[in-house]
């Protein structure tokens, strides 16, 4: 049950994030959408590792099956990468805002060099 709720949540985060990426004109909104979508992908991977009645995969956490630890280990790496991506792209957005005085994507695409 919890597994399916998590899967549903992950898919809705993905749709929400990618929808924001497509529909907003402001580049910061687009990056936010991207970040929500990558959160959705991360949650999706964790949900894949779910097992019924499982406990967290930590030594000494009692009897019963543990959740699959591998996706959780993977997702740590993916979260770090997505964090780096977001941070670097925000630096570039700051640069563009200072030089072209806009965050509107159609205007940025037409943007001339200063």
């Amino acid at each position: 049950m919890e597994g399916q709720v998590a899967l549903l949540l992950a898919v809705s985060l993905l749709v929400l994030g990618l929808g924001t990426l497509l529909s907003r004109r402001n580049v910061i909104w687009k990056l936010l959408g991207l970040n929500v979508a990558s959160g959705g992908a991360a949650l999706f991977l964790v949900a894949v590792g779910h097992r019924p009645q499982a406990v967290p995969p930590i030594l000494g956490w009692g009897p019963g099956p543990a959740a699959d630890p591998l996706p959780q280990a993977l997702i740590l790496t993916a979260i770090v990468i997505h964090f780096a991506t977001l941070a670097l792209s925000l630096v570039y957005v700051i640069f563009l805002t200072e030089h072209l005085h806009t965050q509107d994507v159609p205007k940025l695409e037409r943007g001339e060099d200063e």
């Binding site: 990426l21 979508a37 991977l45 570039y92 640069f95 060099d113």
Partner: protein, 488 residues
């Protein structure tokens, strides 16, 4: 495996040390470069699939022909870029060294998640390098590149989750022994999304439309590196996926679409670097057709990829130098004003890419043409005619202008193209058949004839901005996933 791993780690360490220096020019990059060559000499001609970090959960690495082929020419591209950009600050060379290191790692990897990490590192480092000059257009180009490739990588991650959920392993080596079929829909969707994510990174037409702008705005050395090496990492991933999962037909159809799509955009493009970028997309078509068909065509596609990296690197290097020297980008206004080395580089690269015997493109195209079934061999012939037609418009550029230009990088890459050509001709005597030479020459001649007709037509193709590119990548990816469920 230890030697190969040491080479990669050497690259990462040297790149990091280089970032800490404050002077100009490469220093640790040279050390890494030499280390890479030593490491290659130690592990060539290959090592079997082995698990880094223990037998059960370790990361699969393999020194197979793909890895060997890439390791053999990567030092050449790295040297050309390092030489051309030697006056830049050490930060630049640190980033280049790290980027080359991630490419060395990508080609060794046979693990789905490890490939994801390598591709993401690749994107982040290319992102920094494309915008390195801090011109606002270049910064925008690299931001667009990062947004689109991240969309691709998110899809890849979801696909990875689905495949792992069904098969319980991430090692492509292990998956290829499982004889997977696509009877379970979630596995099929997962495989489709993996292919879509890698295709976005590879710059396949309609999925990876970040490519023309990024290649246009990148500094000369960086666009050489992108065209000659980094851009091929997505293709290596697709080749690895086609080896392990039964997604061959999907990869072949992507190849046909990108071959013709890139070509159509290239035919009417006037900006030199954008034209070459669309040609990169079109050449990807040949490789994907070969990799998707598998068997002997797989080997042909691998050799084609190496040849293509060499002459595409050369073309972008020469084009970049030409644009730097003249200060203009559109082909007609560059005519007759190119510095000597740039004109020669463009001429050699063009002769190679249209398949004039005995150069590298001829070797690659004939090899691939022999190894694919007849239906595809016709597709490849039409693509070759189109390539010749679109490159005919570069003819006025081969006349040199008065300006002197830099020779080093162009010479290195030309030597690479000629070296590959002579290796191909010496090791494959069947390429000496006069009928093959006549056919290749005839194809170029017909292509030139086509050019005379086509350049009179004035066709405006729709422009592609970020929103459209993101929309078509997403729609295309969902389409690929559906196609895997319904068709395979």
């Amino acid at each position: 495996m230890t030697a190969a791993l040491a080479g990669v780690l050497g690259y990462f360490l040297a790149g990091t040390l280089e970032l800490l220096r404050t002077k100009t020019g490469p220093c640790w990059g040279l050390v890494a470069w030499a280390g890479g060559l030593i490491s290659l000499a130690l592990w060539a001609p290959g090592f079997p699939e082995s698990k880094l970090g223990g037998p059960l959960w370790g990361i699969s690495l393999v020194g197979d022909p793909i890895a060997l082929a890439f390791w053999c020419f990567i030092p050449l591209v790295h040297a050309a870029v390092g030489w051309h950009e030697r006056r830049r600050p050490a930060t630049f060379h640190g980033l280049v060294t790290l980027l080359v290191g991630t490419c060395l790692a990508t080609v060794l990897s046979r693990d789905l998640f490890n490939l994801f990490v390598c591709l993401e590192l690749n994107s982040l480092l290319s992102f920094l390098l494309i915008g390195f000059d801090a011109r606002s257009r270049a910064v925008w180009a690299s931001l667009q590149y990062l947004i689109l490739t991240t969309v691709g990588m998110i899809l890849y991650l979801v696909g990875l989750g689905l495949v792992y959920g069904e098969l319980g392993t991430l090692s492509l080596a292990q998956i290829s022994t499982l004889a997977v079929d696509f009877s379970t829909p979630s596995l099929a969707v997962g495989a489709g999304l993996l292919v879509a994510g890698a295709a976005v990174k590879a710059g396949v037409f309609l999925l990876g439309l970040w490519l023309p702008l990024a290649y246009r705005e990148a500094p000369t050395g960086v666009s050489t590196l992108l065209a000659g090496l980094v851009g091929k990492m997505g293709i290596v991933t697709l080749a690895r996926l086609a080896q392990a999962l039964p997604v061959g037909p999907l990869v072949v159809s992507l190849g046909v679409v990108t071959g013709f799509g890139g070509l159509i955009y290239a035919l009417w493009e006037r900006d030199l670097k954008v034209f070459l970028a669309y040609q990169v997309m079109s050449q990807v078509g040949y490789m994907l057709i070969g990799f998707g068909l598998g068997g002997p065509a797989f080997f042909g596609a691998l050799l084609y990829t190496v040849a293509c990296c060499l002459y595409k690197g050369l073309l972008f290097q020469a084009a970049g130098q030409a644009v730097e020297a003249v200060g203009k980008r559109d082909i007609p206004s560059l005519a007759g004003r190119l510095p000597g080395p740039a004109a020669i580089g463009l001429a050699v690269g063009t002769a190679a890419i249209v398949g004039l015997p005995p150069l590298a493109g001829f070797v690659g195209k004939e090899l691939l043409g022999v190894m694919v079934p007849p239906a595809f061999s016709w597709t490849l012939t039409i693509l070759t005619l189109g390539t010749a037609a679109s490159f005919s418009k570069l003819l006025p550029l081969f006349r040199m202008g008065p300006a002197a230009g830099e020779r080093g990088a162009v010479t290195l890459l030309t030597a690479g193209v000629l070296g590959f050509s002579s290796w191909g001709l010496l090791s494959l005597p069947s390429l000496w058949a006069p009928s093959l030479w006549l056919r290749a020459l005839a194809a170029v001649a017909v292509g030139f004839g086509l050019h005379l007709v086509i350049h009179r037509l004035d066709i405006r193709l729709p422009k592609i901005g970020l929103d459209r590119a993101a929309l078509v990548s997403l729609v295309g990816s969902v389409g690929l996933a559906l196609a895997t469920v319904l068709w395979l």
